[in-house]
Amino acid sequence: MRLELVRRPESPWFGIVAPLLAVALTVASGFVLFLALGLDPVETLYQFMLAPLTTFQSLTELGVKGAPLALIATGLAIGFRANVWNIGAEGQLIIGAIAAGGVALAFWNEAGWWILPLMLAASVAGGMAWAAIPAFLKTRFGVNEILTSLMLTYVASLILQMLVFGPWKDPDGFNYPQTRLFSEAALLPVLIEGTRLHAGALVALLAALAAWFVMARTVTGFEIAVVGDAPQAARFAGFSTRRTVWLSFLVGGGAAGLAGAFEAAGPIGQLVPVLTPGYGFTAIIVAFLGRLSPPGIVAAAALMALTYIGGENAQITAGLPQAATGVFQGMLLFYLLATDGLLRFRIRLTGARSPRAAQP
């Protein structure tokens, strides 16, 4: 007997069924896992998945945490479509936040309308510059972009630490490793009074809309898809792989940098040694869970934001380490990849001697 995968005809349903099935399987596995760890599985799962949806305050937090995920994933998805693997978004986010923070600190005792736009522009430029390094090394020397973009994330995180422990430390901050609080002019406007939901969430939605338009309705979007799906056809058509690599990294880096500015000028309001619970990495899962399409990404970002808030809840109520969130996120991606395979192919058991199974 042997397993065989037979390709099924494509169906538009797969794109919707697979993620839902993956979520269901993740919840089921979480149940078993919590049971094995001696926790009350129903209560813990409730804290993880449903409690965040029960109050208005935590619903707005969904937007606070979902916005950077959606923004970064939208940028990354363009590269993933073209088989360009920028997995250093976390580093690009950090450099973006540093650039925005630099502007905010330089003008911290001034109040001008131009400060915030300048910060956002600086963050986009910073994220792009950091992403340009792997893009340059890839296009010029053929260096594997996965490894370089990831290594640069560690470097970016150390640069941030160097600044907040060193020259940028708040002089009136009792020696805590953090910068001054940003001035009023350097903070993002809040959308709903009394919550942390900031204007960045709107920008993230607009960015998803814009990306959807570019990918679905423009020649550039078509080029990117062809370079990823059929590199040879792309070469014959005269589409440039080099251009696609640059475009992917600059868009991904710019989006991640902007997300960094949103974090610093939004919920945090200053620079601290650790800015995010790994949004740059989680965004990779968001991109895949959302099928690399902007509408899917927005939905996936909300779901991932849910696991973050749920993780914080479970940390308080059940004493789970915050990393438990990663278990859910990893499992989701596993199951998504698995259900994808199962839906695309039909598994058939065949006899080893069947003439159609040519090889042992």
């Binding site: 438990a324 859910f328 596993f334 042992p360």
Partner: protein, 308 residues
């Protein structure tokens, strides 16, 4: 000077060992045409499982076995996804890392801060007392020697055995190997599991020898550096050994240089990561400029399904 150098070099050998174990495993995996980016996750699961087993049973051997097993189980998840279900290898590897970081922290939470005795140093009668060579080469624990032996065994297996030849054939052209009647998927499964076991042991070296304790995320990017080492090695075991010792050396030198010349310590901590980028660039530039033979296996990362 020599009194200072010997402990530094001995420490470099120690720091290189987890990189070498993981890189040797991944090298075999990649030679079979599979790219598993989940080393960091497998290492962490190995570190946690090895530590927990050693703590609970009091046996280091049980710890090492548990670590290898944990790494293999993680690799099995990856193999089922990518080999049986033809899932994207890059995405699956990343998922494995994120999952491993989370699961090891979750399951390992009760063991944080607990003490466990470090792996015993092998005290080889006579040799350990030699001047210079004694403290440098003969006062390590068994895993250090195992890692070097594993490099030799891997070289021998890949280049001198029939099975190794088949494995390389599968990595160069899965379709051709399949046409010749070699079981492509089975060979890739075996290679992936070996990679998992080695990554698990690499993790156990960290939690049972290097810093005998368990802490979440304690691998600190070593899994990724091991991946870079495989590229550095041009997929050849002995060059992986040289690379691992170079990187181990950089890691130790930056520790000793911390604070020198009045520079912030973070600048030294960046060194291993910056060095990785530089080395990868030099290697890639050279292979692009025309064949030092450091070419990746031709079918690396490509999913395979038997066509009829």
């Amino acid at each position: 000077m020599i009194d200072f150098l010997i402990p530094v070099m001995a420490a470099a050998i120690s720091a290189a060992t987890p990189l070498l174990l993981a890189a040797t495993g991944e090298l075999v995996v990649e030679r079979s045409g599979v790219l598993n980016l989940g080393i960091e996750g497998m290492m962490l699961m190995g570190a946690m499982a090895g530590f927990a087993a050693a703590l609970l049973t009091g046996s280091h051997l049980a710890g090492l076995l548990a670590a290898a097993l944990a790494g293999m189980l993680m690799a099995l998840v990856f193999a089922v996804l990518t080999l049986s279900l033809s899932a994207n290898q890059v995405a699956s590897g990343l998922a494995l890392t994120i999952f491993g970081i989370g699961l090891s922290a979750l399951v390992g939470a009760p063991y944080v801060g607990q003490p466990v005795p470090a792996l015993p140093k092998l005290d080889i009668a006579g040799l350990s007392d030699l001047p210079v060579a004694g403290p440098l080469l003969f006062r390590h624990d068994g895993l250090v020697y195992f890692s070097v032996a594993a490099v030799a065994a891997t070289w021998w297996f890949l280049n001198r055995t029939h099975a190794g030849l088949k494995l390389r054939a599968v990595g160069e052209s899965a379709q051709a190997a399949h046409a010749l009647g070699h079981p492509v998927i089975a060979i890739r499964y075996a290679a992936s599991l070996f990679g998992g076991a080695m990554a698990g042991l690499a993790g156990a070296f960290l939690s049972l020898s290097y810093t005998p304790m368990w802490m979440e995320g304690m691998t600190a990017g070593r899994g990724w550096i091991a991946l870079a080492l495989v590229v550095f090695s041009a997929w050849r075991p002995w060059r992986a050994l040289v690379g691992a010792y170079l990187f181990g050396g950089v890691g130790i030198v930056q520790l000793h240089a911390q604070g020198a010349w009045g520079l912030p310590s973070e600048m030294f901590s960046m060194l291993p990561y910056v060095a990785t980028v530089l080395v990868l660039t030099v290697i890639s530039a050279r292979s692009q400029a025309g064949g030092t033979g450091s070419r990746a296996p031709a079918d690396l990362g490509k999913p395979f399904r038997a066509s009829r």
